[in-house]
Amino acid sequence: MAFPVAQASTAYTFTLQHETVNDKVNYSPNLPEGGFAPAEQRPRFQSNGVVFSYRPDSAVRYRFSAAQQEMTSLRDSFVIENVSAGVSRQIQPVFGRRHSVDIGVDLRINSADEIYKNSYTAHADLLLTEIRLIQPRDLRLSIHSDLTIALRERLSLTLGVQTGLTQTDQKEVTGVVRLNNDCNYAFNASTSGGTIRQVERCGRVISYQKQYPSDRTLNDDIGFSVAEDITYRDYFFGPRLSLHWRLGYWQLNTGYQFRKYVRPALDDRMRSLGISPVNHSQDAFVALSYNGFRKWQSGVRINYQKAAFLNDIPFLYNAFTHERFRGNGVVRYGFSVTRLFD
């Protein structure tokens, strides 16, 4: 989430930022021996990060950021690291002195040691009792082009489009599935195949294991494919607009963004299983910043998101987790403090 920073004459800035959501959950994970751990109230999402930007001249800006994001649900909690880098260039004037165009490119990477979904999920004819993504990550490359029009001395409007692509990946997917014989089978799978293993004795079968030499053989046998159900590539595009108002040391921004996602393989796969994919997101925000201190700036921001976090952490979305991206929106709150350097 980018905070607006007045940087017309500032070469370097360093920002600390924190985000959270209004939604809290009583986190109570499944215990290995059965039952649940005592509930602990936590926000569903919070993030702490740093942003560093550098402006060598009035036209070019470089931006680097790193953040640690923590997501919590009723049964699951995990930490996701994020790093990003971007560069943008302002072209002005294009249509006149009141217009300027900003074009830029950003690269964002999310990664985690492990994402553990400790709750039951039905998929095709299977009941997954737990699933883990081992070393998941995603990489998103986006290009934006924004036209800013100065409506008045202190009021401007920005209209823009953004497009890009995302690729998700993981080292391995593991989990436990329960079949209709009431026996549990542990599996581990990657794009190069996998293994299913009976967890404990099942009737007269003391042990059972199936070894698949490829993702295709795994899919042919049990209808699960890492390459088709978990890993995906998407293409996205969408418009955005924002209003910016400055009064003295205060700056108020409000805006809206729509993004459409096209996932050629994953969406077709999900539809074939009778699942409606979540293929768009919306984000509206209001941000207020104050830079009355010569070298410091502070800000607050409120976002309302539909399909929350689809824009932020792509690898969380797959054929098993899609339902978490539907439904009600999420209100996010952000706070930042920025140090300005000449």
Binding site: R204, V205, I206, S207, Y208, Q209, K210, Q211, T217
Partner: protein, 483 residues
């Protein structure tokens, strides 16, 4: 026997040795030893009852530091070749304290002597073992240093071990009978020593020794020999031990011992008159070939001699293929069966079990009974389909997986499939066209082979399927399926 994917652990006999002091000040994390009769390679190693690998070349193995008793089961006697990895099947179980540098028939007898008169739950300390060694030396009239010298370097030690093994092998037709035979032998030697009757010679008093051991078994027990059979055995062991005593090199001892053990085998495979029948029971179709025809890997018109135009559901080996030289009573063996494609694809189907029991009456091939030990019999199966997907399962059976009706020994794939119902095993191989190698392997029972008038070491075959493997005597044939 080198069958892994264990579902049961062989437990040591109720002998636990506690060490008064470690014999080695080495900081090595393990205790190294050698299994020697000749060198025993490929044998299962049990460290305090826990399966811990197999013996390597020259019989070397190791157990974790702190192990009190090492136990070697099965394997192959390679003589004194330090690089050989296969040889004559060794049917037996050798034991020794884990701190001993060698595990031999001599240490096995010493452990058995040391275990005499132990109360239930009482542990045996190293002092008792040392005393047992002295008792053994006294009862055999051989210096203790000789008996427990280098079993591959000291010729007299080599001879003594070979002679003891001949005596034990005379009663132990299978691995699981060896320890029982050792206990009886130990009892005889201890009584001899306690009675001050003087030493008993392994060379010249075989006709006294073997009956005394036989008397330790209750009539009707699986190791007990009726008088006629006992006399035949005495003659064989007498001839072998006398020959061994006169040899001048360890390699000659190994060779003569091997030949003598071959003659002691209770079961002989008579390949020249055997036949095998492939059947599809549902279609009532069958084809019978001689074993020679079935074992030929020559194709005519792109097909083997055994060509079937429907799926095969059973393989029946005529019982005449087995000659029963002496009574076999509930001998525990390991068995494996495999069908494997030879057409450069990965299709295969294999079964392994350590819970097979064999019984037969002397001179009656039609008395052969091969069954699963039904109390808690287990077998493992592995199948690989054309795509390379491998399915492995270990299943508790109902005891009906194998069957013999006297006239045939049958591998009934329908029965086996019933045990693996819903696990998707059978479709990958037997319901599709192809050319296949069919192998049956038995180990743990002493079996030789006869071609014409010549008796020889039986042909050995190896079945390897994933992590499971078994090497032993048996049959290997070839068939083509054309649906």
């Amino acid at each position: 026997m080198i069958y892994q994917f264990p579902t049961k652990l062989f437990t040591a006999a109720a002998v636990v040795l506690s060490l008064a002091a470690c014999s080695s000040s080495s900081k090595s994390p393990s205790l190294s030893s050698q299994a020697v009769d000749g060198f025993i390679v490929g044998a299962d190693v049990y460290c305090d009852g826990v399966l811990s690998g197999v013996t390597q070349t020259a019989g070397r193995f190791s157990c974790p530091r702190g192990t009190v008793l090492s136990r070697i089961v099965g394997g192959f006697d390679v003589g004194f070749d330090t690089t050989a990895t296969t040889g004559t099947p060794f049917t037996g179980v050798l034991t020794a304290p884990a701190t001993e540098p060698f595990v031999t028939p001599m240490t096995t007898l010493s452990v058995a002597i040391a275990s005499e008169d132990l109360a239930d739950g009482e542990t045996l300390d190293l002092t008792r073992f040392r005393q047992a060694r002295t008792t053994l030396a006294t009862s055999l009239g051989i210096a203790e240093d000789t008996l427990f010298g280098d079993p591959s370097g000291n010729l007299e030690t080599v001879k003594a071990n070979a002679q003891i093994n001949q005596v034990l092998a005379a009663f132990a037709q299978s691995n699981d009978a060896y320890e029982e035979a050792a206990t009886a032998f130990a009892g005889v030697l201890k009584e001899r020593a306690d009675s001050n009757a003087g030493p008993i010679s392994l060379t010249s008093e075989v006709e006294v020794l073997l009956p005394a051991i036989n008397a330790k078994f209750a009539p009707g027990s699986r190791l007990f020999k009726p008088i006629a059979e006992l006399n035949t055995t005495v003659a064989k062991v007498n001839e072998a031990n006398r020959a061994i005593s006169e040899l001048s090199s360890r390699d000659l001892v190994a060779e003569v011992s091997k030949e003598a053990l071959i003659k002691l085998a209770p079961v002989t495979i008579a390949r020249s008159r055997a036949s095998v029948t492939l059947s599809n029971d549902a279609l009532r179709a069958s084809e019978t070939l001689t074993l020679t025809e079935f074992e030929s890997d020559t194709q005519v018109g792109g097909m083997y001699n055994a060509t079937f135009y429907s799926g095969v559901t059973s393989f029946e080996y005529d019982s005449d293929v087995f000659e029963i030289n002496e009574n076999v009573v509930n001998a525990g063996v390991s068995m494996a069966f495999e069908i494997k494609s030879v057409n450069n694809d990965q299709r295969s189907l294999s079964f392994f079990s350590d819970d097979v029991v064999v019984s037969a009456t002397k001179d009656r091939s039609d008395s052969l009974v091969v069954t699963m030990n039904s109390d808690d019999a287990v077998f493992s199966a592995r199948a690989t389909d054309t795509a390379g997907t491998a399915t492995l399962a270990t299943v508790e059976t109902d005891g009906e997986t194998l069957k013999t009706d006297g006239s045939t020994f049958t591998i009934d794939l329908v029965k086996i499939n019933e045990q693996l119902e819903d696990l998707g095993f059978m479709d990958s191989v037997l319901s599709s066209n192809g050319d296949y190698q069919v192998t049956l392997v038995i180990t743990g029972l002493r079996i030789n082979e006869r071609m014409g008038a010549d008796t020889m070491q039986a042909e050995q075959y190896m079945i390897e399927s994933g992590e499971m493997s078994l090497k032993g005597v048996g049959f290997r044939g070839y068939m083509s399926i054309r649906l």
